[in-house]
């Protein structure tokens, strides 16, 4: 039995795929030095022609990855900070994502984009603290948000093998998590949720680092409320069947979501459940960032705009 850290799990998944498939290659800044934790040791092992240190030309190397994918390779692109996804939104949402349809199915675009450290990191302020998974789900790019080391491993492997563009967000708040890995690490199918804790009274949907907050709140409330914690693992495509099955058991729904309130994952989950007419015993609740949140620098302000355990506790109580 070994303790596997989240960052190490991503690193191992990438190493295994580089070893398994010569078409896999990596583009990113400081990937040789492995500064972001995804790539340590990989350039030494696989060569600078497969693990490529790029200049600060994100728009170019993001679409170079698409070009290489059209030529049969399976590039993985690393971004040091989440807001670089805003810079390359054109290259992902408007180029890679549209390739398959616009070519009438002639070409797929198997590119994986990884952000090792998305969301708030203490003291990184407004331009480094976004967590834009809802944005990518909105445009329809396959969007992964693993919470645990084993899921990080399994989802990164699946992303690299997937024929479409996939964005994987590794939340900064989960990077330090370590897990006892007792079974073999295996691919995790894209679009499949996971129940971290079964419960009878209320379903809490939580993804990424918020899974740990949901589990903590579930534990605290255990004597009064039986909370089921459902982790979609994949934001898009979402595992609606798993959610329906959970709500059929509990009849209550709370979503905790590190997106802005307006048009975020929480909004979609609630809308989809209500729209299907799934019977709920109480009004659904969500805990999110505020509308249009820009995270202020001072730590107390930053924290005030992120979903908190206290807010989740209150939302769960309110849903009872």
């Amino acid at each position: 039995m070994t303790k596997l850290s989240y960052a190490k799990a991503l690193n191992r998944a990438l190493a295994d795929e580089l070893a398994r498939d010569p078409a896999v290659c990596v583009f990113g800044e400081d990937v040789g030095a492995g500064l972001s934790g995804l790539t340590p040791g990989l350039q030494a092992r696989f060569g600078a022609h497969r693990v490529v240190d790029t200049p600060l030309s994100e728009q170019a190397f993001t679409s170079m990855a698409l070009g290489a994918a059209l030529a049969g390779l399976r590039p993985v692109v690393e971004f040091q900070i989440p807001s670089l996804l805003f810079l390359v939104f054109e290259q992902i949402a408007n180029q890679a994502h549209k390739t398959s349809l616009m070519t009438g199915g002639q070409s797929a675009a198997p590119v994986t984009y990884v952000v090792p450290g998305s969301g708030s990191r203490d003291g990184w302020a407004g331009q480094h603290s976004d967590h834009p998974y809802s944005l990518f789900a909105h445009v329809g790019v396959k969007t992964l948000l693993p919470a645990t080391p084993a899921d990080a491993y399994g989802l990164l492997v699946s992303a690299i093998r997937d024929p479409d563009p996939v964005v994987l967000f590794a939340p900064a708040g989960a990077l330090g998590v370590r897990e006892d890995v007792t079974t073999e690490l295996v691919p995790v199918p894209i679009g499949s949720a996971r129940i971290h804790r079964p419960g009878e009274d209320v379903t809490v949907v939580a993804a990424g680092h918020l899974v740990y907050d949901a589990l903590a709140v579930a534990e605290e409330l255990a004597s009064e409320i039986s909370v089921e914690v459902l982790d979609p693992r994949t934001v898009y495509p979402f595992d609606w069947a798993a959610l329906s099955a959970s709500i059929a058991r509990t009849g209550r729904l709370v979503v905790v979501d590190d997106s802005n309130r307006m048009c975020g994952l929480g909004a979609e989950v609630i809308a989809a459940v209500v729209e299907r007419g799934t019977p709920l015993r109480t009004a659904p609740r969500r805990v999110t960032r505020p509308d249009g949140a820009v995270l202020p620098f001072a730590l107390g302000l930053d924290r005030a705009l992120q979903p908190s355990r206290e807010q989740l506790r209150q939302a769960v109580r309110a849903a009872m």
Partner: protein
Amino acid sequence: MSAPTASPGPAELYRGMRLIRVFEETALCLVKSGEIVGGIHPYIGQEAVAVGVCAALRADDQLTSTHRGHGHVLAKGADPGRMLAELAGRENGLNRGRGGSMHAADLSLGVLGANGIVGAGAPIAAGAAWAAVRQGLDRVVATFFGDGALNQGVLLESLNLAALWRLPVLFVCENNGYATTLPVEAGVAGSVLGRAAAFGIPAEAVDGMDVEAVRTATERAVARARSGAGPSFLECRTYRFEGHHTMERRVRVNYRTAEEVESWRRRDPLERCDPGAGQRAAIDREIDQLMAEAVEFALSGAHPDPAGALDHLYADGLRPRAGVLT
């Protein structure tokens, strides 16, 4: 048109650099002690660039800065106490604790803002310069950026627009040899000056460890811009003595040799600047006193009230919905 200010002498240039140096050393201590959360990108080693450039600017000139921006903000005249308070996330900081190290701004001094995104300041500077021309002002806008920014499309687009429309922009490239761990030779094809030359922008390389050289070169560029002749480009060859970011103290990296760092330290811009007989010790004492007061001011500032976390999000006071039903 505001009157030209008298060109600062060697004592003032030294004083400006000494302030940045001690400010940064103080900030490093506060990072260590936890008063500054999130770390900083230290400017130590590059002081001659910020001070030399800003010495040639007028009070009403403007600048945009970078992630490594403390030096630029201080050289343009920001109060070190309020700057330090910003780094410590206090209500009495330049940005009321909302911006932090990478977003320090003082609009009253023409500091349009540091920036967390590499290359992002250049088009903002070009826009400010374009507006100044339209408004009939003879203001110049300087934009600082690193060698890493030379490979951002937006920087090249900005060079083109500034040249095309003869904007009074001063492009200041601080070539410190590395973009994080990437050596400039591994990042920049062709040459740094060739980038500017391709757009017909006059460009010169300057010893960025020599404050007088930077000031003199900037004066030429500023005169050109003010006369309506358009942008200029300076490549200031410099070096950062510290790691890319304070985080680098915790991770193993070996992209530079100890000998290389040492050879640049021997060219320390503060030691190469002669403030005049008997001046150095007096200025050092004065700066120590100033920084002691700055620390006192910064750390006595209030932590912002979490209830105000959404203050200033919209200029019209629009209050967005909270993250939970209340």
